[in-house]
């Protein structure tokens, strides 16, 4: 037994130096489904910057924010929710003006809620209005628990607001009908995908456009079609330097050059190849065929920002609860 413990301790010593604190090594805390994306980004970045190391941590982005607040030493964050970076601002880890530190509101790429339908689109689903038809079953996770589904909810609401001239009762009725068409609310995006793909439930799965591509790739491109509605909600993927950590570790330069890399043509190309829309005009033109035209509205324009959304829609007893509870 004693030898065993000694061996284990030696092994621990052998592993621990990997976590050595060095300014040539930074940790990127990212959301849960960006593993493959950042594996490619990091490979290219390191090839261009020899001797540097980028470590990756993945998890739900709210969980990641919480972990950083509790001491996870991430130098940069690449999240899928603006609100989660705002949590870091409140905790004093990220500076107030983080959105002006990088271009496009510090969002090097973006996506939108889009539809994944069965091959050949047998139900002829083209737009949000088709989702409330009686013969259509819709799959998306529970907006109470899934950030992904919150975007779906907000995009549908934005569409309804336009279609019904902001009439709150009609908007509410539209969303209620949409919810009625959902046979089962899973807790997360991955579970909803399983329901749609493996259990064969529903006619359309709503999730980020970037993810519809991943699903089609994984489960068979010939089995599904991607439908982009006429209008959708801009989903930003914000990035930020975690000031408190980089100041302590002296890694600000590397952190900055890493996030800057995401905006370079090389970085943008990798992002686009993985199904994300990018702003670089040359790269966007290169991938024009992949990304159908869509009119995007923003959270600020339609809802007046995330704080207002939280109060009006997602707070306990607010609109979402009312509609969801009435079912």
């Amino acid at each position: 037994m004693r030898k065993f413990v000694a061996a284990a301790a030696l092994m621990a010593l052998a592993i621990l130096p990997v976590q050595a604190q060095s300014a040539d090594q930074i940790l990127n805390a990212s959301y849960d489904i960006s593993r493959e994306l950042f594996a490619k980004v990091n490979e290219t970045f390191v090839a261009k910057n020899p001797g540097k190391t980028i470590d990756q941590s993945h998890g739900g982005s709210s969980k990641q924010a919480r972990a950083i607040l509790e001491g996870l030493e991430a130098d940069v964050v690449t999240f899928n929710q603006v609100t989660d970076i705002n949590a870091l601002v409140k905790g004093g880890f990220v500076s107030e003006d983080w959105q002006s530190e990088f271009a496009n509101n510090a969002s090097p790429y973006y996506s939108l809620p889009a539809f994944l339908v069965r091959a050949g689109n047998p139900k002829g689903i083209k737009d949000w209005s088709d989702l409330v038809r009686d013969d259509v079953k819709v799959i998306f996770p529970n907006p109470k628990t899934s950030g992904n589904a919150r975007y779906t909810y907000l995009a549908a609401t934005a569409y309804a607001k336009e279609a019904f001239g902001n009439d709150p009762e009609k908007v509410k009725a539209f969303i209620a009908k949409l919810f009625d068409n959902v046979p089962v609310f899973d807790t997360g995006g991955r579970a909803a995908t399983t329901t749609f793909v493996e259990r064969g439930q529903g006619d359309v799965l709503i999730t980020f456009e970037a993810e519809t591509r991943g699903i089609a790739k994984e489960f068979g491109e010939d089995k599904f079609d991607i439908v982009v509605p006429s209008v959708s909600l801009l989903a930003e993927f914000p990035v930020a330097i975690v000031d408190k950590v980089v100041d302590k570790r002296g890694s600000r330069d590397l952190a900055k050059s890493y996030l800057d890399f995401l905006y370079t043509p090389d970085g943008q190309r990798i992002l686009a190849e993985n199904g994300n829309r990018v702003n670089d005009p040359a790269v966007a033109a290169e991938f024009k065929d992949q990304f159908p035209e869509v009119r995007l509205v923003t959270v600020e324009d339609v809802f007046g920002g995330w704080d207002a959304i939280q109060k009006e829609h997602f707070a306990s007893g607010a609109l979402l609860d009312q509609i969801y509870g009435e079912r």
């Binding site: 065993f4 284990a8 301790a9 092994m11 976590q19 849960d32 509790e70 001491g71 030493e73 699903i215």
Partner: protein, 298 residues
Amino acid sequence: MAAARASTRPPRVGDSPSVRRALIGVVLVVGALFILAPLVVIFVQAFSQGFGVFAATLAHPDTRHAILLTVLTAALAVPVNTAFGIAAAWAITKFDFRGKRFLLVVIEVPFSVSPIVAGVAYLFVYGLQGLFGPALEAADVKILFALPGIVLASMFVTAPFVARELIPLMQAQGRDLEEAATSLGASGWRTFWSVTLPNIRWALLYGVVLCNARVMGEFGAVSVVSGNIRGQTNTLPLHIELLYHDYQTVGAFAAASVLTVLAVFTIVAKALLERQGAGRARRPSLAGPAAKPAGGKA
């Protein structure tokens, strides 16, 4: 003799062959559907794209590190919990003191508390927003989101396993032998090594095996404190979840198959130990007088 007994007594459930067969059949079908089938699916999925893809997934540095980290965590957590379990069982069964029942309850707490609660509790103790977080930060000691946190969380969840295996056995064995050894002049250590340990060794190994299985499979508590850094703090169960969420179905199932194989090894080891233990109990001469209480019971 059995037939005569059956005719004089009212029939019990299971006496009739049809009832017996129906019960056995139900257990077999339920077992196959709910336990065996999912396990088979793991392996079918893991090899669904051929052995090459399976091997490539396992050869990936992150997967290899996850396996290594899981084994390392077990290598650190299990010995500590073993020592703790023996000490706790020894104290509870061989001595009388105030608060003994309370100690028993405390030892069992991790059994009834959800692992996620354990993880969150560690956040509150060692996190930056927590009790000791700022002090640890100032001393530049990393507990959370590093190996120590993972080992601590695993240890918490599996703390009762060894003690729970030992306490009933040591209670049944009583303390006569230890008292005899002491009265003959043996020191505490000598009594433990020569009298107590030989008596409990199979139960102890059994507890260690269970503890090990649980440490390797622990997800909830570790998920909270690990920080999910790939190639650094991602244990095998966390790695499986990550791959699964990332639509790497084959990878996820390949990693899951490794964990399953580790678990199956554990079960086989446990079965072997049980046979060994039963054999020992039936041969009192091998274990000397120490085996008498157990032998008498069997």
